[in-house]
Structure formats: structure tokens, C-alpha cells
Symmetry: C2
Subunit: 162 residues, 2 copies
DNA sequence: CGTGTTCACTTCAAGATGCAACCGACGCGG
DNA sequence: CCGCGTCGGTTGCATCTTGAAGTGAACACG
């Protein structure tokens, strides 16, 4: 209780950058969701789960691996897998080597769904991001994004303050 | 129905960039929400609404202006304003010059809330983003973000076919 | 005026999320 | 073996978001 109540404000320039980044984090996911929802009837998160499975050996992953891959909480992934299971795209099973794990496996129908959906999604990824940057810019973009992501992952969130 | 079924895939490099950007759009908003929720009991969206009002003349904006400012749908903003109203931070009123508009006004209590919340939020913005880039990088970051945001805003989402 | 349309907003139902409590499956110490 | 803590997942609940339908105020046209 002896700190400066008002920290360094953002100047006009910093503010613009901040707003630009915030806008990005809102509009890009929204655009991805729209395209997927419209063309494939699934959200981006569900797509990530399906895509993750489609690339895994035996098209199978543990729920927890899936959660890490798709950047989601365990309850959320569990829910999503249930939904995908209901739609016939994923099958649940428990890991023979350790009954605590649950394995999610992509069905053949699920595989078909991914194959049908991926091209449109990749096209969107290109149109919204990838194709708008030349290789040098891309490297920089990636580095910038990683920098922010790393900071955000820091469980150092609040004001533990110095 | 006579196109290439499989478009240009992403190569390893492009893929990395893509994943980095996606990660950013998931982790940064999550980190912002965590800090605000924890320190102020509100989400980032609610904060944006309050902040928008706090900077507006008379601390007042139309719901629709608020929606545009905060990047949210009209129903969502309407709901949020109701919530904020219940908490005593915002007051509703109809526009005398055109009864169709609804004006949202920040109360004094609401102003205090913003004043109390802003420093922590700005600090977070600095730690996660702003302070990690020197001025030249910041300009570039902003330009990159704008490029993607502009593309995402394009109502050109899906596969307009052809 | 009167009818119809547009506009800004609100409401409602359905679906999605996060959080916290809960549950069964290991694994280790005794 | 038994008991206990841990680990991965699941479930329940409270909240939030979304999309569609509804409301009422202004305008437009005959």
C-alpha cells in the first residue's frame, strides 16, 4: 500500500498498438468461427480437436493431450469430445495401459469430416493471415506472437507487484 | 464443383506461424480476463464497455456506439449494460433527439470503478505486450495486427464458391 | 393522416464455458 | 493387502453468448 496509484499510462502510440492487438484477438477468432460454422457446422475449437486427432498416431490421443494441443481446459475438451462422439466423429475408450487416461479416437466418419473441412479452413488461414505476409514478415510475425503468448502464459498475472 | 479439392497446404514454416497466431488469440484474451476478473470482478468485455463510456463526452454513448467500440454484438452489449446497471455503474436513458436510441451513461460509482481498475489493466497491457516491443517493433506489430484485422473484417469469409 | 418499412434495441430459448465438487484408477508406504 | 494421496476425467451449476423473434419509435410514401 505504498505504490504509485497511477502507473505509466499508455501514450497515443502505445494505445493504438494495444487496440490493434485487442482487435486482432477478437476479430480473427470470430472470422474463423464464422467460416467453419457456416461451411462445416462446427466451431474452431471443435475443429482443432478433430484436426489434432487426425494427425495423431492411430488417430488417437488422450483427453489431456488433446486439451494441451487445443489450448483448452479439461472439462471443456471432455464436453467437446462428448459432442463429437454424439455426432459419430470420435470414439472414447480407456487406456489399456493406465485406466485413468481416456483415449479419444477419430472414427472413419470423423476422418472424412476433417478431410472435407480442412481445405476450406486452410484457405481461410491463408486469406486472413499467411498469404498477407512474405516469408521474412512471417518469421517476424511469428516471433512477435510467441513473445506475447509466452508473457500471457506466465502465471504472473495480477499485481503481485514487485 | 470443378475446383481443386485440396488447396495449397501450409508448409512447416507457415504452419508454425499460423499456430503461433492462433495461440496468441487464445492466450492473450484469457490472460486479460484472468487479471480483470481477479482484481476487479469483471471481464475484459465489461471493462471495455466501462472504459468506452469513461472516455466519451458526458460519459455517455449509445448502445450501438458502444457495441462498435467494444467489438460486440448488439444483444451482447445490451445484456452487459443491464448487468452493469444492476451493479450501479451505468444508467440507461433514451435519446431525447431520437427515441430509438438508448443512451448508456456512466454513474459516479462507475467512474470510480474505472479509476480503480484502469491502472492494473494498463500494467497488464504493458507486461503482456507493450513493454515487450521497442517503438520500431511496436509500429510493425500494429501494422501486422491491422493487416489481419482488416482481412478478418471482410465479409468475404467462406468459400464464395467459384 | 395511415400504412408499411426501417431502425435500434430488447427478450427469449438454446447452446457453450468455466469452476468446483466429485469419482474411479493407479501407486506407494506400511 | 490396506489406506491414502494423487492424477485424469466427468458432472452439475451458475453464467454468459448467440440467433431469432419481438417491441416500439421514427421515417417514407401515397
Amino acid at each position: 500500500m505504498s505504490e504509485s496509484p497511477s502507473p505509466r499510462w499508455l501514450d497515443a502510440d502505445e494505445r493504438e498498438t494495444w487496440l490493434a492487438v485487442i482487435s486482432l484477438t477478437i476479430r480473427l477468432p470470430a472470422a474463423l468461427d464464422r467460416q467453419l460454422r457456416r461451411d462445416a457446422g462446427i466451431g474452431h475449437f471443435e475443429y482443432q480437436v478433430l484436426a489434432g486427432l487426425s494427425e495423431a498416431p492411430d488417430r488417437t490421443l488422450r483427453i489431456s493431450e488433446l486439451a494441451e494441443f487445443a489450448d483448452g481446459s479439461l472439462p471443456r475438451v471432455s464436453q467437446v469430445v462428448s459432442r463429437l462422439e454424439r455426432r459419430g466423429w470420435v470414439r472414447r475408450g480407456s487406456d489399456p495401459t493406465d485406466g485413468r487416461y481416456t483415449l479419444a479416437t477419430l472414427t472413419d466418419t470423423g476422418w472424412d469430416k476433417v478431410v472435407a473441412t480442412a481445405p476450406g479452413h486452410v484457405e481461410q488461414a491463408r486469406r486472413l493471415v499467411i498469404d498477407r505476409f512474405d516469408p521474412a514478415e512471417r518469421a517476424r510475425l511469428r516471433e512477435f506472437a510467441d513473445r506475447i503468448t509466452a508473457a500471457s502464459a506466465d502465471r504472473h498475472d495480477g499485481l503481485p507487484s514487485r
